[in-house]
């Protein structure tokens, strides 16, 4: 009898936590990329994308990040000098808010999105060259899986996948899409839309970032970003 109760308790905890987790995800109106017309949101800077997600109240989501390269953070850069004046009562703060307030920028906006609970996993679609770099890095990482199409590497337990447009697998749930203008260094707008459409990607927020002020991004790439926006708005892609 007690054994049955304990087994039932274990089952209830498993089912309960699973439902609790899934129900914590916050979505908007979901549309199929390339099939349904989608009005993307244009932002100038990556951190504007983060602010948009936060304003919309998204939570527990997969972020599909499409960019030419992956800026790898070294968190030691953000280490603050210990002022050595600790005493009781301790000044305890919410780390995510603290980091956002002090450090949010174009390089770490996805990290902040993870800290704040907007992202629960990230899929980064990169150029083939950047993917090769991610693969090399993963060979030295403590927790990584590498195959020809995909690299899985966690950061302090936070799951991230790196792939290329050709290697992208269907996400299996609606995603928050972030497209950097730099993506069009290695992909054409039609090609990108076709790939997303073919994988059945669905999204409730597509953000296009022009990377204003970034001299590594050309006018051609920014124009391609605009073309991609128009293709999204049109919807009903041929390949769909």
């Amino acid at each position: 009898m007690i054994s049955c109760a304990l087994l039932a308790l274990a089952l209830a905890v498993c089912v309960g936590l699973d439902r609790f987790g899934r129900s914590a995800r916050r979505f908007g109106a979901v549309r199929a990329v390339g099939r349904d017309p989608i009005r993307p949101t244009l932002v100038a800077l990556p951190e504007d994308a983060y602010r948009f997600w936060k304003r919309q109240g998204f939570h527990g989501r997969t972020i599909l990040c499409l960019a030419d390269s992956w800026d790898r953070l070294n968190l030691k850069e953000y280490a603050e000098e210990d002022d050595a004046r600790r005493s009781y009562p301790l000044k305890v703060y919410r780390f995510a808010d603290h980091f956002e307030e002090k450090f949010l920028d174009s390089r770490n906006f996805l990290y902040v999105a993870a800290l704040q609970g907007i992202a629960r996993k990230i899929v980064a679609v990169l150029s083939p060259a950047a993917f090769d770099l991610a693969r090399d890095h993963a060979h030295h990482a403590k927790n990584a899986r590498v195959d020809a199409q995909e690299v899985y590497e966690t950061h302090e337990g936070f799951p991230r996948w790196f792939t290329t447009l050709g290697g992208l697998t269907p996400p299996g749930e609606p995603v928050l899409i972030y497209v950097s203008a730099s993506m069009f260094r290695s992909a054409r707008p039609e090609e990108l839309l076709a790939a997303l459409s073919r994988r059945g990607v669905r999204s409730d927020a597509v953000l296009l970032c022009s990377l204003a002020g970034d001299r590594t991004v050309s006018d051609t790439e920014r124009r391609a970003l605009g073309d991609f926006a128009r293709l999204l708005e049109r919807g009903a892609h041929e390949g769909s």
Binding site: S3, G21, A96, G117, N143
Partner: protein
């Protein structure tokens, strides 16, 4: 040898020991400002409960510490009581727990009191009862779990085994090393089952199912439940095993948070090298504008938990004696004590990564039990009066050594005559060890 009257009725001396242990721990806590770890434990607790994220400190360990620390912060605020209070309580309660478990395993009150005495005064136990990191949980929860398993075996009441399962669950939810003691106690139940009177198959099956439910299903359920804030980030149950794998990988390959490795980090040396220690440092500037230039001597607290050599260096001979007596007496309990010591220690000794001496808190309860048993067995009740006094003399000396090491544990080392200067010089010129050897082994 006649047992002294205080040994026949140990409640009062045990209470005195516990209070003395508490006093030493409180003084240790008050003797220094909060460490970086103390602050980061509090921040990590808020981070986990509010955001479901593991870290920023020690993200690879299970998460009970975050929940308990958060609860304490809510109850008592971010003062010393809220940040350290629970650890202080657990570290103090370990003293009567060591007594109770030793008494049950060895059957001797004086051995039990001696073990409790050694634990109460051991600098490592004192220091980690006075800091916010959760090593002391790994002494407390398994000890309480072991005691409950024996209460169940003695009384056959199922409630004790459920309590044991819950306590081991809390232990595993603190750090995975509680699995070692749980495995030993599962082994004890199995041996009892195999050696016990033959019962009907259905009865044995039902008993085995209950035991498995209490000591496997219940701890795992508690362990899983402690991750509830992580699930609040939107994760499903299917995503949870991947988190466990990443925690395991980090734990397996962890080489510390600095660019090089500092401090004693080879567990294989704990029982053979005198002076093994764990050091924490707190550099504190006075509040407000300071007149004097800060110096290491005046502003650095060097919290140095040095293993009492009279205890730690006695472990191997005491263990050999324990094994010998266990074998000769065919004693299940003595074998269990040896198994608890070996199961708690050997994984740290053989694992190919640095293991700092603070982890010794996990092993310490079984160290003091084994040494206390050994010293009373080595000098038996028969023999000359001088021989009969040896255990008391040994314990007295061990206490004196622990008390002599106490100022180091509470950060007064630099001010000590004779050793202060060399400690200061050592701290100034401490050199780290390269991580290369571990990284080569691991990749």
């Amino acid at each position: 040898m006649r047992e002294a009257s205080f040994v026949k009725s140990p409640a009062l001396p045990l209470l005195a020991l516990t209070l003395a242990g508490l006093l030493l721990r409180v003084v240790c806590l008050l003797a220094h400002a909060p460490t970086v770890d103390d602050l980061m434990v509090a921040i990590s607790a808020v981070n986990f409960v509010d955001s479901g994220l593991l870290g920023p400190t020690m993200w690879n360990h299970p998460v009970l510490r975050n929940l308990l620390a958060y609860g304490m912060l809510m109850l008592f605020g971010p003062g010393a009581a809220g940040v350290i209070g629970l650890n202080l309580l657990m570290g103090t309660l370990c003293i009567p727990l060591v007594h109770a478990v030793t008494r049950r395993l060895t059957g001797e009150r004086r051995v039990a009191l001696s073990a409790a005495l050694l634990f109460a005064l051991e600098p490592l136990a004192i220091e980690y009862s006075s800091q916010a990191i959760n090593d002391i949980y790994l002494a407390f929860f398994p000890l309480a779990g072991i005691l409950c398993v024996y209460r169940h075996l003695d009384s056959r009441r199922p409630g004790w085994l459920l309590a044991a399962g819950a306590l081991f669950g809390l232990g595993i939810a603190s750090k995975w090393s509680a699995l070692f003691q749980l495995a030993v106690m599962v082994g004890v139940l199995l041996v009892r089952e195999l050696r016990g009177p033959q019962a009907a198959l259905a009865e044995r099956g039902a008993r085995a199912l209950f035991q498995a439910s209490a000591l496997v299903v219940l701890p795992l359920t508690i362990y899983l439940a402690t991750f509830a804030p992580w699930f609040a980030r939107g994760y499903s149950l299917a995503e949870w095993p991947a988190l466990q794998v990443s925690m395991y990988q980090e734990t397996k390959l962890h080489t510390g948070y600095h660019d090089e490795i500092y401090g004693d980090h080879i567990a294989a040396q704990w029982f053979v090298r005198p002076g093994v220690s764990h050091v924490d440092r707190v550099f504190t500037l006075p509040e407000g504008p300071s007149v004097a230039e800060p110096t290491m001597r005046d502003n650095l607290k060097h919290l140095m938990a040095v293993a009492n050599p009279m205890v730690w260096l006695a472990v191997i001979p005491a263990l050999l004696l324990l094994l010998n007596r266990a074998w000769r007496a065919r004693s299940e309990e003595l074998h269990t004590l040896a198994a608890l010591l070996l199961a708690s220690y050997l994984p740290f000794a053989v694992v190919p990564r640095p293991v700092w001496f603070n982890t010794g808190v996990v092993v310490l309860p079984y160290v003091v039990m084994t040494v206390a048993y050994g010293v009373w067995r080595l000098f038996p009740e028969t023999g000359s009066p001088w021989r009969r006094r040896v255990p008391v003399i040994y314990l007295g000396l061990a206490c004196l050594v622990s008390l002599a090491l106490y100022p180091l544990a509470i950060g007064l080392g630099f001010r000590l005559p004779l050793v202060g200067e060399s400690l200061l010089e050592g701290a100034k010129h401490e050199q780290g060890v390269s991580k290369d050897i571990y990284q080569k082994e691991n990749h």
